[in-house]
């Protein structure tokens, strides 16, 4: 090998700590880009593909009970490829012996072997139950711990008695209920098992796939509307319809938005890592000035020097890519796997994503080159005299006759003037601290780059905490929709006064409110169905709900055909405003209602509305009756809520009520906001990554600073500084940098918080939410930055203290 390349090779390997620092700085950025881009690509293709592979129903009709003939008539319709009728009902289940009941949606299949839609994927045990056997969707295991195929499960019958069935298998059902966070987990039985649960052997669900155009929303809508019309003409009520596209997972938009947030942070990390690289290259070039001088002395030209150092940078890049590309690929798949697992779909297997790979290589090569170009260009310009006099002169008076004529930078002048001013007033700063202080500002570009990384790391860290609180604050606001301590749902309407009478007998219950509910269809101006809307009907004066209104007013008891709509409705009708009319099919009749207000809710919960009980009870023709009750208890904590729910459930069953479920308000809310925690965890991981990059920057800087000041440390030693004094000087400098960056991070965290919380809330709630700040992020970062900067200095400081003076000052 030619000697100049030998030198480059050597420079690459010779200082392990420095090489690691550069390589790791590059690798962090390449890794995060790789993870996010890879996960994005994998999810993008697999989410749809795996969803499609389970043959999701394009049409999901929730209907009143119907029989084989009706199903057959649907099957015979053109455009329908496959249709399955199923019966879905709610049942409570528990592991024998354990006290805790959980709710299960049991799905009765006509024929497991002939299953064509919403395919079940076997996981463990049987994937098709026999008569009087049950299999579970894997999500059900979250509530039913340690149940294995073959174990018995206890089911509660409507009359309160308990029956036992064996659980024979676990399956995954990625299609049914995909994207519906509020859905209960599923269990599956054969139709022949229905009588066992006192259920009629009839269907109440239709799952159908269209022959063509499974990804054409318009087309599916037409088919559904046509279907509904015909069914309703035959006197069969369709309670709710849902359509989905074959190749698009219902949560695609949410996942993409979340990945978008992560991508933003990933790009930021690349930025931070590039400033780290620039810093380290700068220091490396400083250490190499003498070598550059020698090379020029013996005939090397600037271009040759430039090329040598560019090759060196490429070498660092190659090493970083070697680490970060495989790791990034793994990380991408890991992230995709985690998300897919959370959202219950499957990936198509590990693979290298070409786009992510290309992106990683490009980032890994280009970013270091750009970051390193400036120091390398400057370094290659050094004159031989300067380069060699660094050693020949061994000091400031390198020309041998005292300093060259220098003009002090304004910043240094101010620093000195400031200490002098204090001195004149009798305030003297210990000189060791002056050294730390002035050293801090000595290499200004390095300081700026270090501050940039550490500040951004800190600002993002703080912002993530703020966003977390913002989300939780919003969740709390959402909680105002669930103010009742317990929701008691019954299967049939009962007289409100009767329910009240019983409820107050349950210990802890204060009062009860009966709500009603109506399902309607939102219509486009041409009277085709746009979507379903669920309208809740609490008493107008109810205190158990306090909505987040963004426009208009809340309902009043005298409102007739007026409703408050959720923001989600605006996605269908962007021009809706309070006072505008909206067409709905209510109870089979097309009516015009008036929008009186718009409220905010979790975006993916679909179309919701509120109208006063006073009016809806007339529409339902159920005066003074109700199926759904809101209960207020004396205590409002989760534990007593759960306990009262349990007591209510038992008490009402014992007295012959047909109870669907009794659930505490906080539990309902928990389910609604579960997905947010995952997001916060991701944000937190990114925050930690940026913090790591920031503190790496500080460690690197302190290492370089100490290295460049070995001579000065030697002087300190020579004039009487012991180990402690040397270490104190170095650590004080690190902490000073840490504190400055903290101050800046506090400032920068504000815009970053706003930006991040806007992006996140748009992703999750599909609408911006009010940003909230918390001191906890600031405090934690303050503590962290102090600890980090102390740690970042300890190693360099200890090395500094260990240097013997002879090494530093003497050459003979």
């Amino acid at each position: 090998m030619r000697p100049r390349w030998r030198k480059v090779m050597h420079d690459l390997m010779d200082n392990t700590a420095r090489t690691l620092l550069v390589v790791f700085s590059i690798a962090v950025g390449v890794f995060s880009i790789g993870v996010i881009a890879g996960a994005y690509e994998i999810l993008q293709s697999d989410m749809g593909a795996s969803y499609a592979s389970n043959r999701p129903a394009n049409i999901d009709l929730r209907m009143a009970d119907f029989d084989e003939d009706v199903l057959q008539s649907i099957r015979n319709r053109k455009d329908i490829e496959a249709t399955e009728g199923r019966r879905v009902f709610n049942v409570r289940v528990r592991v024998p012996g354990s006290g805790k009941w959980s709710t299960l949606d049991l799905v009765a299949f006509d024929d497991f072997e002939a299953n064509q839609i919403n395919l079940l994927l076997p996981i463990e045990g049987k994937s098709a139950p026999e008569k009087k056997e049950v299999i579970l969707e894997r999500d059900a295991l979250d509530d039913l711990h340690d149940v294995k195929p073959g174990d018995p499960l206890e089911f509660e019958m409507p009359d309160g008695s308990i029956k036992t069935l064996p659980m024979v298998g676990i399956v995954q059902d990625p299609a049914t209920g995909a994207g519906d966070f509020l859905a209960s987990p599923f269990g599956y039985i054969t139709r022949s098992t229905l009588p066992f649960f006192d259920q009629p052997e009839e269907f109440n669900r239709v799952y159908a796939a269209v022959t063509t155009g499974g990804d054409d929303e318009r087309h599916i809508h037409e088919v559904v509307n046509d279907l509904k019309d015909r069914l309703e003409k035959n006197g069969i009520t369709v309670i709710r319809t849902r359509i989905s596209l074959t190749h698009e997972h219902p949560l695609t938009d949410t996942v993409n938005a979340v990945l978008g947030v992560l991508l933003t942070l990933g790009v930021l990390i690349v930025f931070l890592s590039s400033s780290l690289i620039a810093n380290t290259m700068n220091a490396l070039l400083n250490q190499h000035l003498r070598h550059i001088g020698v090379i020029k002395l013996i005939g090397g030209r600037r271009r040759q020097v430039l090329v040598m150092y560019i090759v060196l940078i490429l070498g660092f890049s190659a090493l970083a890519l070697l680490i970060s590309v495989p790791l990034g690929g793994q990380g991408a798949y890991g992230l995709a796997l985690f998300i897919s697992d959370q959202l219950n779909f499957n990936l198509l297997g590990y693979r290298i994503v070409p786009l992510a790979f290309t992106l990683q290589v490009a980032v890994g090569l280009i970013v270091p080159l750009v970051a390193g170009m400036f120091p390398v260009r400057n370094g290659s310009k050094i004159t031989i005299l300067k380069a060699l006099s660094g050693e020949l002169g061994r000091g400031e008076g390198s020309s041998g006759r005292g300093a060259a004529k220098v003009q002090l930078p304004w910043f240094d002048r101010i620093q000195i003037r400031f200490t002098r001013m204090l001195g004149k007033r009798g305030i003297h700063i210990p000189r060791l601290f002056i050294i730390s202080m002035r050293n801090t500002f000595r290499r200004k570009s390095r300081l700026l780059l270090t501050l940039f990384t550490l500040t951004m790391g800190g600002a993002i860290f703080i912002a993530v905490f703020n966003v977390r609180v913002t989300l939780h604050d919003y969740i709390n606001a959402i909680g105002h929709y669930f103010r009742a301590d317990v929701t008691l749902d019954l299967d049939y309407p009962y007289r409100v006064s009767e329910v009240e009478q019983y409820a107050v007998q349950v210990p802890g219950v204060e009062r009860v409110e009966g709500w009603q509910f109506i399902s309607a269809e939102l219509l486009y101006p041409d009277e085709t169905a746009a979507d379903n809307i669920n309208i809740f009907a609490p008493p107008a004066e109810s205190e158990l709900i306090s909505p987040i209104l963004i426009a208009g007013r809340w309902m009043q008891s005298e409102d007739v055909r007026k409703l408050v709509i959720s923001e989600a409705v605006l996605h269908l009708f962007p021009d809706l405003k309070p006072g505008r009319p909206i067409s709905m099919k209510v109870d089979g009749k097309v009516e015009e209602w008036e929008v009186i207000g718009i409220f905010k809710f979790v975006g993916h919960e679909g179309m919701l509305g509120y109208a006063p009980l006073e009016y809806i009870s007339k529409v339902n023709n159920l005066p003074n009756q109700s199926m759904s009750y809101r209960v207020v208890t004396e205590q409002h904590d989760r534990l007593s809520q759960d306990k009262t729910a349990e007591l209510l459930d038992r008490f009402f069953r014992e007295h012959g009520f047909s109870v669907r479920k009794a659930e505490s308000g906080l539990a309902t809310m928990d389910i609604a906001v579960e997905s947010l925690d995952t997001l916060v965890v991701f944000l937190f991981i990114m925050a930690v990554l940026t913090a790591i990059v920031g503190s790496m920057g500080l460690t690197g800087t302190m290492g370089m600073n100490v290295l460049e000041r070995t001579r000065e440390i030697g002087i300190l030693r020579a004039i009487g500084a012991d180990d402690r004094a040397v270490m104190r000087t170095v650590i004080a400098e690190g902490i000073l940098i840490g504190m400055i960056s903290f101050g800046l991070a506090v400032i920068f965290s504000v815009p970053i918080t706003y930006l991040l919380s806007r992006i996140v809330s748009l992703a999750v709630f599909e609408s911006p939410i009010t940003t909230v700040f918390t001191y906890s992020g600031y405090l934690i970062w303050l503590g962290l930055v102090l600890v980090l900067s102390a740690i970042a200095c300890i190693l360099p400081a200890r090395n500094a203290a260990r240097l013997t003076i002879r090494e530093v000052l003497a050459y003979e």
Binding site: E396, G402, A403, G423, G426, I719, G720
Partner: protein, 245 residues
Amino acid sequence: MDSNHRPMIEMQEVVKTFKNAAGEFTALRGVNLCIEPGEFISIVGKSGSGKSTLLNMITGIDHPSKGQVVIGGKDIYTGVTESQRSRWRGRNLGIVFQFFQLMPMLTLVENVMLPMDLAEMYDFDERPERARGLLTLVGLEKYVNKLPVLVSAGQQQSAAIARALACDPPLLVADEPTGNLDSKSANSIMDLFEEQSRRGKTIVMVTHDPSLTERTSRTLVISDGLLVKDSRADLDQDKGKRKVS
């Protein structure tokens, strides 16, 4: 022994061997030396003769491979850590280097205060006054608040001498203090040393310029790691004899 008459520096059989990949190199091959308080010593020798190594043995900057160095009655190597030696040095001797070695980020007066801070000598509020006084002594009263880069080499060296005097040590050690100065500046630096010698400081100076030896009270010549000539050898011997008798 009467402590008033104990020597300032006593070196016994001091050997220093450097090891590197190329093998061993013995820089000092058994040096014996006794310097009395108040002497102004010049150590001369060619480059490579071991004179700087010898000086490093006195300042505690390096440590001997063999032998003993006692300064002001204290064995500075046996059972003393590097850190403790630094502290001792700060309080007991002042060093002047060929390349001045002022802290570049501190003004001259701050540079002079620094050893007092490190040694925790003099009251905190007294230090600025004392530093100013020392700078006046070396003729730098106009430059107290200047950074080292803003003054000439000669002035830097004067400031370095003021710094060496900060804690009022009995012993000053200088390594080629005029080696990087033009002849005029070199002269004024020598004047400063002479003045300190008159005030009773013990001064040990290494130089390769034989012309400077005329201004010192005693000259030691070192060659290839051994003291080969001592201008006071006869005198010392006489003294020794007198002491014995």
